[in-house]
Symmetry: C2
Subunit: 457 residues, 2 copies
């Protein structure tokens, strides 16, 4: 009976969604203010959203705000909550087990405070809403990308992707040898691997902010990002195989590659052929709002399939967009799917980026050694991807392609987390990776804005 | 490190949002099938959504589906999860503490299974999304209700609300005296009180399904529902005061009433006067998509304020709609807010009703004694509210108003939960209340459809 509503009359309607409503209003307010400020400075709105998030998250932490102290832990909050739910410990105890001692104290204190469950509710909802937001964003970008155009730039995208894997990997291993001459080969390989994975969400958003989604450069970046996702999966399989068993599991790699290829060929090949029939069939039923429901449902299904195949969910959402691009709005009357989704996008996508900003922990910059490693790795992370832009033909804006491939994000962090799990990435290196993710993310909107110019009026 | 991703390459992108995506697709599919079937039978779509939910939830439970076994526990899942998070026990242990033993076994087994965290993620997200959906629905209904029209039917709404409190309360106490001659007065009062609270969400949806939102009867129902929410708060304060201390706390009741009145007068009075100025001021900033952002933000803020005042969040959302009704679309160019929200509504509102259906537990009908009590209470619950329709002038459709006030929902359950907490409502009576909520909810769409006729073409 512990959790029954209080007897106080004022609590008789206590609705658990209330803290979430407040959080949504505040996050959206932050996004609007930051986005508006940047648009006014002729910068991409997403930069403002990130900066507002960074300021709010870090300020909240330093001023001892309990909610923000919890929320900025990001994925760690899910780990803590999952651990508390599945084992016989409380949230605060789980925080001590999951986090390094320096962070655990304040987080555990906040998690045993009076509103901890409200913060968890906000975390759960906003985190999932953000994950869905990024799928909607990539689905929208896919909807504006026809497969034919993609095929036209296919070879270039492949070259960019391969160059963007090889260069940062080699440079990353070089930096490791310079900074830590005694480090194990497995560590060097792992750090090199971490540098390979592009996180294309922020680039996709900047391209939309600047109204540049249909340039050839944009197609190259998106195609290369999809290939990059497949390749970095293979790199991860190889590198973690080497680190754990000292050998490369040929069958494991074959399986990884096969699954990813199966998904891409299957979804694009069969999808393009079969979805028009399904849509025509469904249309006969006169379902209200079929366009939006089928569109989003299809995007979510392919995201799920992509995940089953070991790929990022956003690859599935992007593929779904490309598949529907060719025929969907021709087959179904009414407002275009892009227009319908844009309403949704404007509500949820800014949240995602403010949320991303909140999770940027500036205290990672605190230690000198980590800072040096972080800056060195960031430098080669940028250089390695910018170099890949030179795989484009001269007529394209190579800088834009290179900077577009630059952001690293959750994939790099997951990669680093696995490395920490098997003991080849220590806490210092992990923080260096956090720095690199942080800088490449915040730099991408600025760099793309400079190379692509302002939004055409 | 327990919660780090597996080393298996296929898991390298494991995204916690994936189960949520699947659940959203399946729930939406169910809603579309049920809604379409009912529209085809010229019934309100919401009835189909509820029925699909009831079938899926109960079938899933009887076939041993772990996910549905957990999800249909509804609010209990939140209690279980909150307990597991705040104390040193696991989910399964918390289930044993929160649920009656008969239910606990299967739920605890499902909660210690391999996908329990996925189900919790689905529960958390879908539950909050549904709570937001119902706010969006009531906000939309408010947007179609002008304050002037409301004032015109104000006296009738007040009469209907008062009759709809007095009649079911008296009848409920009568039934208690008949069925349980020895029961304490506190129990009788509590059960009577439970019968007073109308849950207007389903009626609002049926009125929209049937295209009848702007009839006088609809305004009377909505106005009476708001007044009903205030009055039943007072009833709860009186009844629980009597049950706990044997005395009525005059100051508590004064505070409850004052807060509710303050919210209503404050939001409607000040809101109507001040929001046009704010909107005009904001418009000058050229914020993209201001209409939707401000509209939703305002609705969420008033929902929060209503909750602070002890009222239901939906009262706040409805008030926000009425406030913006008069000037919003006149002040801001572009698509009307109704149109923008309708896109959102069609995505999330059907989810809410499928979700409501899933939480209907047919096994409550299992015991003979409970069934008798349930049916008797349901009968007076229906009769008491139908009678209230006769407070309308003869020119109105009194049956429609009565049936519109009939549904009881979460408020009745919360009320009953409090009664169980202080020991005046036993498990049998609680199940009887569950039956009454179930029947009035499922009956409302049918009864309203019969009294109002089909949707005009």
């Amino acid at each position: 009976m512990l959790a029954l509503p209080d007897l106080a009359p004022a609590a008789s309607h206590a609705d658990p969604v209330v803290p979430v409503l407040l959080a949504l209003v505040l996050l959206t307010l932050g996004a609007v203010v930051g986005g508006r400020l940047m648009t006014w400075m002729k910068q991409p709105a997403v930069l403002g959203e990130l900066i507002v998030g960074v300021i709010a998250g870090n300020l909240g932490y330093y001023l001892g705000g309990r909610g923000l102290t919890i929320l900025r832990e990001g994925d760690n909050v899910r780990r803590i909550s999952d651990l508390a739910l599945t084992s016989s410990i409380s949230l605060a105890q789980a925080a001590w087990q999951i986090l390094p001692a320096a962070d655990a104290q304040r987080v555990a204190a906040a998690l045993s405070g009076p509103h901890s469950l409200d913060y968890m509710a906000v975390y759960n909802f906003v985190d999932f809403l953000s994950r869905i937001a990024i799928l909607i964003l990539l689905f929208l970008v896919g909807l504006e990308t026809s497969l034919a155009e993609m095929r036209r730039v296919g070879k270039t995208a492949l070259l960019v992707a391969v160059a963007g894997i090889v260069a940062p990997m080699a440079m990353g291993m070089g930096v490791m040898k310079l900074l830590y001459p005694t480090s194990a080969l497995a560590s060097d390989l792992f750090i090199g691997g971490i540098l390979t994975a592009t996180s294309v969400g922020i680039t996709a958003r900047v391209l939309r902010d600047l109204g540049q989604e249909s340039r050839d450069e944009s197609r190259v970046i998106l195609g290369a990002a999809v290939i990059d996702d497949v390749l970095s999966l293979i790199v991860l399989a190889v590198v973690s195989g080497l680190a754990v068993t000292g050998a490369v599991s040929a069958s494991g790699i074959a399986r990884t590659t096969l699954l990813a290829a199966l998904f891409l060929v299957g979804s694009l090949g069969i999808g393009i052929w079969i979805t028009p029939h399904i849509v025509r069939y469904l249309r006969a039923f006169g379902i209200h709002n079929l366009k939006l429901l089928f569109g989003l449902g299809f995007a979510f299904l392919l995201s799920w399939l992509a995940n089953l195949a070991g790929l990022a969910t956003i690859v599935g959402a992007f593929a779904a967009g490309m598949i529907l691009n060719d025929f969907f709005d021709r087959e179904l009357e009414g407002e275009s799917l892009q227009q319908l989704l844009t309403t949704l996008e404007s509500l949820v996508v800014p949240l995602f980026f403010v949320w991303m900003g909140i999770q940027v922990k500036l205290e990672a910059l605190g230690s000198r050694d980590i800072l040096i490693a972080g800056i060195a790795l960031t430098a080669v992370a940028i250089l390695g991807k910018v170099v890949s832009g030179w795989a484009c033909p001269r007529r394209m804006n190579r800088w834009a392609v290179g900077f577009g491939m630059m952001p690293r994000g959750e994939v790099g962090l997951i990669f680093a987390g696995i490395g920490r799990g098997i003991g080849v990435v220590d806490d210092g290196l992990f923080s260096a990776v956090v720095i690199l993710v942080m800088i490449t993310t915040l730099l991408a909107p600025l760099a793309l804005r400079i190379t692509l110019g302002p939004r055409p009026v």
